[in-house]
Subunit: 309 residues, 2 copies
Amino acid sequence: MTQRPAVLIMQRHLAPLTGFLEGSHDVYRFWEGPPIEAAHDIRAIVVAGEFELDKALIESLPNLVHVACFTAGYDRIDVDWCRARGLVVTHAPGVNHEDVADHAIGLIIGSRRGLVSGDRMLRAGGWKPETRVLTPSLNGQKIGIVGLGGIGEAVARRAEVMRMAVSWWGPRDKPSPWPRAESLEALAKDSDILVVCCRVDETNVGLISKEVIEALGPQGLLVNVSRGQIVDEPALIAALKAGTLGAAALDVFTVEPADPADWADVPNTVLTPHTGGATNESVQGMLMLLMRNLAAVLGGEAPVTPVRD
Amino acid sequence: MTQRPAVLIMQRHLAPLTGFLEGSHDVYRFWEGPPIEAAHDIRAIVVAGEFELDKALIESLPNLVHVACFTAGYDRIDVDWCRARGLVVTHAPGVNHEDVADHAIGLIIGSRRGLVSGDRMLRAGGWKPETRVLTPSLNGQKIGIVGLGGIGEAVARRAEVMRMAVSWWGPRDKPSPWPRAESLEALAKDSDILVVCCRVDETNVGLISKEVIEALGPQGLLVNVSRGQIVDEPALIAALKAGTLGAAALDVFTVEPADPADWADVPNTVLTPHTGGATNESVQGMLMLLMRNLAAVLGGEAPVTPVRD
């Protein structure tokens, strides 16, 4: 092994981390095909938690000790499998939930108040003297939060000041200022706007099912700032086309990058490229946690922010 | 005169009012060329306050008593001239300021967090695996409110819960929880985001001047939900092109409908077709005030919501 610990960055969009890491690490980048002789050096892999682990690759790295998620989410990381192999898994919690909540509010206004379609219409020359676009006020709209964690609570606080009526559902009850619905379907049925804020894991893939989507109904707006897999995307697209769901505003998709062809003829959508938490400031916070976790784990100490469950 | 009072709707986009008015009025529509013999019947004209009054027309209506602005704003109405002719001028205050504030927040997120450009980029196929768009967090952004009236206060309350630091400027000091800057230029200089929320009148046309725009600077975002005339639009466009202003998010324009050609090559803009206050609920509230004002004034009673100054 070299003096400096070697790390392997797995996903291409994490390439900008290189500059920060190479001050104290030898940095390899997976998509560039690291040299075979590096396999023995690599002590940590740096990943985005929404991507599946390459287990065969991990098995080929005999000195790997650390799977470092740059992200808060680690939904595609098989944590049990990593633990069974003695690998420490860390992530970056609590850094970007308020930014994600801001983005969720932007998606709500962008869709409900016709802001994104208005920009498009104006640029296409569709604004005429006789045009009068009316949209529903947010005042008194019932907003249902799916998953009252850090993001969900931050969305709820913003929604309240915008005069929306907040309720929520999550599998476990918890103390909160807002009422918990007795089921997800009841929440959807009683909401004008449903905002998916929960963490995804193997238990809740497809949680936002055809039934939940139809309970939200033809006037309803579905917002997703969590993970694409939590929504039954074919059912969502079918419901939007059939008008059994009113609108959707999505920052996340089953497959990312999303294929625009899938959405070209789907009405009443606002679509953003998974930027909810991607602020300069949150990335800086995530970077700091990444560096601290790498230093701790590769230095033989306890990780700063290990995954919890 | 007929039994039912006659009213004349001036602007084409107000045509949907016809159905509500004709239950108790004879309704004429200016753009359809009302018959000459109607001139003696017309007791009220219904207008949008952002349009100049047709004074020659008014002088041709001998029994006119009421200029009824459907809108909250009455900036293009020459109130003194109307009063000198014995005409009562009414408007619809306090109905839609919270909706306008919601829209202003949508413009801030839509621009600052790249929501509108993100939607456009995704649909154009620009989201690639290596794409990582980073935007500034709203956390700690300094937001300057120009005009702390109903809209300005509602924007300030929303901005606070989104972790922005609020200050404001208006020509008159007033008690508020937020600090007042010593001048508009000082506010612009100290702000990341400047939101124009004030009423426009003859004293503040062009208030957001080249100097104010440049004080806001290359990282700054200008948001306007007030009236187009309050901003020096040629200076704004020049500053955006030169990069001396960072971005602009506008719901209002000097001439409306805005000509998209004017904005086609202006970078970093979000543009909406004056929909800030145009919600179903606010229009309903404005309609109610219009009907009550017409009933009062045409019945010889005091107006419910006369213009104040």
